[in-house]
């Protein structure tokens, strides 16, 4: 009914991505991150397991049952020493990247901790569980808890300079300042926001909405816009490193809005069509303009949206793609799927 098929291969991109290594974790991969120092790949699984793999070889570094229920959120501290975890439990946790438990992170209610985010310089950790957002020190001591939101948090992101924290929920986005004299802001919108992405230059907050649209706010002017017409709710959002392109996924098609010039309002977005199933993950490379997209149909595609609308590289996993992350420094892409398959690909030639 929505063109969701699983049998067909995507339109062939020119060449397959060379696979560096692959690993079978045996459980649904719910979260995956590269440590900022580029040494490890940290993976959260559906049964609460935290898995660490050596980024160069794909060898297992450690595997621990870090939460008693499925992991939903995982973030590595900027100094690569700590891992914050949230999951299907009212208690999150901090672990070290060497596999030792540091402390628990209670949500403050019966709600699950669904989002965790370290501030860019690592002094603060934010967690969101239900309607509560809590801020912790890097060692896990509580600093502050915000007033309960109007409904459960659906997205959490720091401004790239660490001066503010944004939380999305039904009814809009709350921006909490972490700078002297700055005021709290509420970017109101009557609708259920389900995802959040703050542009790297800090100027625009974009959100996907349950009613199949993308909403964004230009923070300087407060002007907001709604891009509607998606056939499916846009859960995956990604900014390029220059904060000019916003990739969004509706169904199988990736829609890219161009913020250069007067756009994207009134412009026609770039439509990247090659996946055969719903696009579930999007990630712009931090060192170029390459966009990676993963889909329910098991395919991973690379695109160069500034040059054209055809995929440039392809790869496959075994099941629905549930995570896609770039190495912070090298042209290395990591992906994982619902079957537990984790893979690393070289993306240098392109």
């Amino acid at each position: 009914m929505r063109g969701l098929t699983h049998e067909a291969a995507p339109t062939p991109a020119r060449t397959e991505l060379p696979r560096l290594w692959s690993f079978q974790a045996g459980e649904y991969v719910t979260a995956l991150e590269c440590s900022p120092d580029g040494s490890a790949c940290l993976v959260g699984l559906g049964d609460g397991t935290l898995l660490a793999l050596d980024l160069a070889s794909g060898g297992e570094l450690f595997r621990v049952r870090a939460l008693d229920a499925g992991i939903l959120a995982l973030a590595v501290s900027p100094d690569s020493r700590f891992i914050a975890l949230g999951g299907q439990s009212p208690r999150g946790a901090i672990w070290t990247t060497t596999g030792e438990s540091v402390r628990a992170l209670p949500s403050g209610s019966a709600a699950w901790i669904e989002h965790v985010a370290w501030s860019p310089r690592g002094q603060r950790l934010a967690t969101a569980g239900g309607r509560n957002v809590r801020i912790w020190t890097d060692s896990g001591d509580p600093v502050v808890e915000t007033e309960p939101l109007a409904s459960s948090a659906t997205g959490l992101a720091w401004r790239s300079d660490g001066t503010a924290l944004a939380t999305s929920c039904y009814g809009g986005v709350h921006v909490l300042p972490f700078a002297a004299r700055a005021k709290q802001r509420h970017l109101a919108w009557k609708g259920s926001l389900i995802s959040l992405a703050w542009s790297p230059d800090g100027k625009i907050i974009a959100c996907g909405s349950q009613d199949a649209s993308v909403h964004f706010w230009r923070l300087a002017s407060g002007r907001d816009s709604e891009m509607s017409g998606y056939p499916f709710k846009p859960k995956a959002l990604a900014w390029d490193r220059e904060s000019k392109l916003l990739a969004t996924s509706g169904d199988a098609v990736v829609t890219v809005w161009d913020f250069r010039g007067k756009g994207p309002e009134g412009t026609k977005p770039l439509q990247l069509a090659a996946h055969r199933g719903v696009c579930t993950r999007l990630a712009f490379s931090p060192h170029g303009s390459t966009l990676a997209s993963g889909s329910q149909d098991t395919s991973v595609l690379l695109w160069d949206p500034r040059r054209g609308s055809k995929p440039t590289r392809f790869a496959f996993l075994d099941d629905e793609v549930t995570a896609l992350k770039w190495h912070p420094a090298r042209p290395l892409l990591l992906g994982a799927d619902a079957s537990g398959r984790i893979a690393a690909w070289h993306a240098s030639r392109g």
């Binding site: 649904y28 939903l72 299907q88 709600a111 239900g130 309607r131 039904y170 349950q210 709710k233 549930t322």
Partner: protein
């Protein structure tokens, strides 16, 4: 990939939801159930996953007035799929005063949930003793009954069997297709609440004989033994400016409420109406009904001429007591030999009722689509549930569909085969106009 069935448990506080939930969780049925609870309970069961969530009802911003969904369910159920090997049924318990609409709509509206889950049934628990307090004036209580696929009439030991029968009739009039179960301490067989396939229409349609019990256009009938001569029909002031009446001859020992007599009366009722003013004459056996114009003040008299001694049936649009209606002869009041009141769906506009329509000729798909779209646009908020098995022209297969408010899902089902082809359609809602629905559906005949 098979979809995971979802059971929604609704009912007022004290109706026995928690008791039933505990029984479902404790009984050996080999299922691992994920329970989404909205009130803190003390349930802690190994084989079940119990999740507490605050009901977060979201309005969709797409201009559809009845598109409200449960945001918490979308987040939780999507995330639970990441451990799908560990449960095979989902039970959602709603708070006592919850409107079941948003829960049900969530499974139609959300892209992901629609792919992963199927709403199996809405089970409503009713406290047989206390529900009377809520039935009249609580729209939540009425809606919980209207939305249900299964209604558990609980605590039956606290009421008399007459009260229970009356309550069951009352509930049946509101929701003609739900499966009704009686229980004392929520002790219904688990198989009757889980995997009932409430949205699988076979079972719902098995109730056809009940829900197709015709509704009558009149509220009262009376049988009289009259001699040849002139009688008087006297009416005092009543709630309406007019009342329709059919007067017909009956067989020698026939009652006005005998099925054949009722059928003749209904036919006569459908003919052209003759308006008459006080003083005018009614005759038994007229081709259509009389409309007695009653806008003049005070007592009104109409005459009734009986050509020869006979039994006569009188059928009135409203109850005779509403107009202090009397039949007299030479000043003496003539009592009815027998009488019957009919519950008329059209007379209590705000009530929740069911309308079932059975139609044998094949339906034109496009016309049906147009009619339903218009109907749901106009009355989507008042139509709670809609179910149907349709005989579509040009298709060898049955088309089954069901909806919640303005949202509906339909698909081709098994082939008709040698069985008789016919469409059955049921609406459950408020302010339903039976005649208008029948007319609308009949106009879809190919």
């Amino acid at each position: 990939m098979s979809k995971i069935p979802v059971t929604v448990l609704t009912g007022f506080l004290g109706s026995g939801k928690t008791t039933l939930l505990n029984r479902i969780l404790r009984e050996e049925h080999g299922k691992r159930i994920a329970v989404i609870e909205n009130e803190f309970g003390e349930i802690g069961i190994d084989q079940a996953l119990v999740i507490n969530a605050d009901e977060e009802v979201f309005e969709m911003n797409n201009g559809c007035i009845c598109c409200t969904v449960r945001g918490d369910l979308i987040r939780i159920l999507t995330s639970l799929m990441k451990r799908r090997d560990k449960f095979d049924h989902v039970l959602v318990e709603t708070t006592g005063m919850a409107d079941p609409g948003p829960v049900a709509q969530t499974f139609f509206v959300d892209d992901e949930l629609r792919e992963l889950f199927k709403l199996d049934s809405i089970v409503t628990l009713v406290d047989a003793k206390h529900v009377q307090l809520h039935l009249e004036d609580s729209s939540e209580c009425q809606e919980q009954i209207a939305f249900a696929d299964v209604i558990v009439l609980n605590k039956t030991d606290l009421v008399s069997s007459e009260e229970l029968n009356a309550l069951e009739r009352r509930i049946r009039a509101m929701n003609a297709v739900a499966k009704l179960q009686r229980a004392r301490n929520a002790d219904v067989p688990i198989a009757d609440v889980l995997d009932v396939g409430g949205f699988d229409l076979e079972r719902a349609m098995a109730h056809k004989p009940t829900f197709l019990t015709p509704e009558y256009p009149f509220e009262w009938s009376g049988s009289y033994a009259l001699n040849e001569g002139r009688y008087e029909l006297n009416l005092a002031e009543g709630p309406d400016p007019s009342m329709d009446v059919v007067v017909q001859m009956l067989g020698p020992s026939e009652e006005a409420q005998a099925p054949a007599a009722l059928e003749r009366a209904v036919r006569t009722w459908a003919e052209d109406i003759r308006e008459i003013r006080p003083g005018a004459e009614l005759a038994p056996g007229a081709e259509g009904p009389f409309r007695l114009l009653l806008d003049a003040p005070g007592l009104k008299h109409f005459s009734l001429r009986v050509p020869s001694a006979s039994r006569v049936g009188i059928y009135t649009q409203h109850l005779p007591t509403e107009f202090s209606l009397q039949l007299t002869h030479a000043g003496a009041i003539i009592a009815a030999l027998s009488e019957r009141e009919f519950a008329a769906g059209h007379s209590h506009d705000a009530e929740v009722t069911s309308v079932g329509i059975h139609l044998e000729p094949a339906i034109d798909g496009d016309r049906l689509n147009q009619w339903l779209s218009q109907l749901l646009r106009d009355q989507g908020t008042d139509i709670f549930r809609m179910k149907g098995i349709l005989n579509i022209r040009g298709s060898e297969k049955r088309f089954v569909f069901q909806g919640v408010h303005m949202l509906f899902d339909g698909r081709e089902d098994r082939a008709w085969g040698d069985g008789a082809r016919a469409s059955d359609l049921v609406f459950i809602g408020r302010n339903l106009d039976r005649e208008q629905l029948i007319r609308g559906f009949s106009q879809c005949v190919a």
